[in-house]
Structures are given as C-alpha cells and as structure tokens.
C-alpha cells in the first residue's frame, strides 16, 4: 500500500515536471508552470518520506533544514550577473549528491546491510553514476572557479594534455569494468572515483571563458545522466525520468551552443580555443585606424536615430550596465526612435544570459530578438550600439577564411549605417582575433567602462 502511494507520488511528480518544462516554451505561462513543478517536487519528497525503509527521520530533517538554509540565499540573493557561476555550483552539488548516494549504496551492499544487489547491471549503473558524478563535481567546480574568476579564465594548457586525459579516461573505464566483474574490488571503485575527479579538473581547465556556455550545458547533461544512473541502480523510476530530462536538456543546449560558435563538441572540449590557434591577425591591429568618439557626439547620433539596435555582450554583464541600457533605450524611444535588442546565442557566459539580465532591467521580452530574427534589419538601422561584445560581431567570421572563427554565425552589425562600440580598450576579444568592425569607417569607438559610458550617454541624450 505504502509502496503504491510512493510510486503514485512519483507519477504525479513526473507529469508536473514535464508540464513545467513545457511551460517554458511560453514566457507568459512559464512562471505558473514551474510553480507546478515545484509542487511536483514536494509531492515526490512526501511520497518518499513514507518509504518503508526509512526508519529514522532525524538526519533527514536536519539535512532538509540545512539544505533549505543554504539554498534560500542561493536562490534569492545571487545577482543575475553571477548566474553562470551559480548554475555551475549547483551542478556540482547535484552531482555530489549522486556520488554520495552511489557510494553509500555500494558500501551498504558490500557490508551486507541490504540495499542494492551488486549484480552486473546494478553494479554497472552504480559505477557509471559515481564515475560521471565525480567527474561533474570537480569539472563544475573548476567551471565555477573560472566564471567567478578565482581561477584564470584563459585556457590553461600543457603539451600532451589530450593524450593524458584520454589515458586517464581509459584507466577509469578499466577500473569500472574490474569493479563490475568483481564488486569486492573496493580499491578499484574508490580509485575510479578519484581518477574521475581528477579528469573533471583536467577536462575543464583548458577551456576558456567564452566557451563556458557549452561546458556548463555539457556538465548539466552529465549531471542528468548521473542522476539517471542512480535511478537504474536503485530501481527508482522518477530518478530515471528526471535524469533523462536533465540529460536531454543539457545535451540539446550544448549542441545549440556549439552550433552558434560553428564548432564541434570535440573542438570545444579538446581544442583549447585561443591557446592552440596561431593568432595570425593579432598584432596587425596596432596600425589600423580607430575612430574614438566622445559621449556627447555618440549621444547626438543616438538622440536623432530613428532605428537603433542594441547588441549586448559579456562586457555589459561584467559592468552590470543593464539598467543604464534600458534607461538609454527609453530616452531614445521617448524621442520617437525605435529600439530593439539583438541577442547572439553565445553572448555572455551561459545560454540565454543576456535575456535574463535585460529582463531584470525591465526590458520587455518582446524587444529581445534572436540572431536569425534580427540580422536582416541591420541595413535599415541608423545606429547599432555594441556594448561589450566582440567575437559575436566580428565580420571576419563571415569574410575571412583564414580566421579561426570563420563560419561562426554572427550578428551583422557591420551592415548598419553607423556603429557605436562601447569597449574598455582596444584589447582583442576572447579568441584573440583582431576585429575589423572596430576599424570600419562607419564605426566609432566609445572607450571606457560600459556603465560609466552609458550613464554619460543617458545624461547627454537627456540634454540633447
């Protein structure tokens, strides 16, 4: 009876989760849908608490309370600019939970205190769970460190890196096979966990900041697969379902992100962008003309423009300038201009990051346009205002076959009548590639911190 109730609660939860994810296809229904999903979670937890194996609730209560105390500030207080590292951290937590459950099941089974029977399929599932989980724990921690800039966000490479990683992976898999064949080989089991943890670090260390959207999405997928493997090991269907949903979502996002950079998975993971590529065009830039513009002149252009497209990039997030952007846009609109926002799929450090930042600043979401929707409009645009974006607006991706980013879909900012670029200095973008957009005759550069520059623009447009 109890068992049936538990299973029933899982069915309810699965339905609510899928409906919740489905609601995310519509911004106006999304919030309600996700609240339903949260109720689904509550149902599943209550359904589990009546599980016949649970005899002691003290540790559970303590864990739930402590988790809620840690989770609340992570949900309510983390600023939207820090979302990528926040997601990376929670991936690490999620994977850690999977690993710990796996280890505890293994330990119990070995010491004959019931639980899972370690036959081949179950041991294989347990092995995959801790292998993927442990790799995700450390991989996500490194990603967190890079995004938080505790660790250098430039790719760190050493010769023979891919070979070393490949060997490590091979050894980890060999240990997995050994422990599946004979589950009593505890040193193989724990050795595998340690190797996977090391591998997680080594895999993410060589990946640079701008490639983080792909990595975070991929780790999301691993985390899901680890959860699904937990489900297989425990024979728990809701874990399998959620793991599959999570895995599919992460996988899909990482494909979308790779496509948006015109790079294959393997290229992102093993290519160490910027590290290995000979930066042929770098250095030539010093001699090229750059037209700097004052905030006053830029403000005049914006004030009298009838069509403006704003192109935000990571620089806007770093400067936390989204509120100033919206203020400027409102001023232009008040003067009769039309303002749209062009969002490149890999702008920022995680999928969709710019959209959240702008939504936070009260920019209505129907002004935010995807790359494909807006690219045709640049030729009719009076001013394209680029804020802290670089590689995603680099025309070399379209024109220069020798460029490392050739073929990457970009926003056709260079086709606008005039372009104003807000940038801190003339440093090359993340990929270390010269951007000819900055030297084009129609482009003016407004140097300085994005937030300060935008504030100046706002007061100048007001005065204009």
């Amino acid at each position: 009876m109890r068992e049936n109730l538990t299973q029933l609660s899982y069915v309810v939860a699965a339905v609510l989760f899928i409906l919740g994810l489905r609601s995310l296809t519509r911004p106006d229904k999304a919030r309600q849908g996700m609240q339903l999903a949260a109720i689904g979670m509550l149902v599943a937890v209550c359904g589990t608490l009546i599980h016949h194996e649970i005899v002691d609730y003290r540790w559970i209560a303590g864990g739930l309370v402590l988790g809620a105390i840690i989770g609340y500030p992570l949900g309510m207080w983390v600023p939207t600019t820090a979302l990528p590292q926040r997601i990376a951290m929670s991936l690490s937590f999620g994977a850690l939970a999977a690993v710990l459950v796996g280890v505890s099941e293994y330990y119990n089974a070995l010491h004959g205190t019931a639980g899972v029977v370690l036959d081949v399929p179950h041991m294989a599932a347990l092995g995959f769970e801790v292998l993927l989980g442990s790799l995700t724990v450390t991989g996500a921690l490194v990603a967190f460190g890079k995004l938080q800039e505790v660790l250098p966000s430039r790719p760190l490479t050493f010769p023979g890196q891919n070979l070393a990683n490949g060997l490590l992976l091979l050894i980890a898999f060999t240990l997995l096979v050994l422990v599946v064949v004979d589950p009593t080989r505890t040193s193989a089991f724990y050795g595998m966990i340690a190797l996977a943890a090391l591998l997680g670090v080594l895999m993410v260390i060589p990946i640079g900041g701008a490639d983080m959207p792909v990595v975070v999405a991929l780790l999301n997928s691993y985390c899901g697969l680890a959860a699904a493997a937990t489900g297989f090991a425990l024979g728990n269907s809701i874990l399998i379902i959620c793991g599959a949903l999570d895995g599919a979502s992460g996988f899909l996002l990482s494909i979308l992100m790779s496509k948006a950079m015109n790079r294959s998975f393997s290229n992102v993971l093993f290519g160490a962008f910027g590290g290995g590529t000979p930066a042929a065009a770098v250095g030539a830039g010093g001699a090229l003309p750059v037209r700097a513009i004052s905030a006053e002149d830029a403000a005049i252009q914006l004030a009298y423009a009838s069509r403006v497209i704003i192109v935000p990039g990571y620089g806007m997030a770093v400067a936390q300038a989204q509120h100033q952007v919206r203020e400027l846009a409102e001023l232009i609109e008040k003067r009769g201009g039309e303002v749209k926002y062009a969002i490149h799929p890999v702008a920022g450090r995680m999928p969709g990051h710019m959209n959240v930042l702008l939504a936070e600043a009260n920019v209505p979401y129907d002004r935010l346009y995807d790359m494909d929707e807006i690219n045709g409009e640049f030729p009719q645009t009076d001013v394209a205002l680029v804020i802290g974006a670089n590689d995603v607006v680099n025309p070399a991706a379209r024109e220069d076959k020798s460029s490392p980013i050739y073929g990457m879909p970009i926003l056709d900012v260079d086709r606008a009548k005039t372009v104003i670029v807000l940038k801190r200095g003339m440093a090359a973008g993340f990929a270390g590639i010269e951007n000819m957009l900055f030297h084009a005759p129609a482009t003016s550069m407004l140097f300085g911190d994005a937030k300060a520059s935008l504030s100046k623009l706002v007061s100048e447009v007001k005065a204009a």
Partner: protein
C-alpha cells in the same frame, strides 16, 4: 526489470528532447536552472540513504547528499521563479499570440 527501466529512460529522454527543442533561446537560462532544480530529485535517493539506518557511513553520506540535493531544489526553484518573474511583455494587458518563435 532492467528493460522496463531502459524503456522509461529512452521515452523520458524523447519527451525531454521534444519539449526542450521548443523552448525559445529567450528562456534558456531559466531552462537550465529549472532542469537543475528538477534534477534535485536525487533527493529521493538521498532521503532513503540518510534515513534507513543501515550503517553509520551510509547515514552520514546520505545526510550530506540530502543537504546538497535540498540546496539545489530550494535554490533552483526559487531562482527560476525569480527569473521568470522578471520577463514581462511591453504591455502586460495585451493578449498577444501565444506561440513561441
């Protein structure tokens, strides 16, 4: 039993793929935090590990797992809600076409 579980996995993966391909890039960040919150379901495994008193090791590992998973569930759903609350239309009263692009 294993075959049945494989069915569940494959079918759920399909459902996930079908649903998630329709999520517009606009909401990709909330999607990530939502799947993150949902994957906090590993809480149900952790609860059993922490509460079944099979061994001290398992209980302690289970306890830490409960803390981690609960953090994700609570933090994940809260931050998703916080984000989704921010997305507003130009004119909130206008009933505009529902279909996502």
């Amino acid at each position: 039993m294993l075959i049945l579980e494989l069915y569940i996995f494959v079918l759920a993966g399909f459902v996930g793929y079908m649903v998630i391909t329709k999520v517009p890039p606009l909401l990709h960040t909330p999607l990530m935090s939502a799947t993150n919150a949902i994957s906090g379901i590993s809480l149900v495994g952790s609860l059993v590990a922490a509460g079944s008193q099979r061994s001290t090791v398992a209980t302690i590992l289970g306890f830490v797992a409960v803390v981690c998973a609960t953090t994700n569930v609570v933090g994940g759903f809260l931050i998703t809600d916080r984000m989704l609350k921010m997305f507003k239309r130009d004119d909130p009263k206008a009933k505009l076409p529902a279909e996502p692009k």
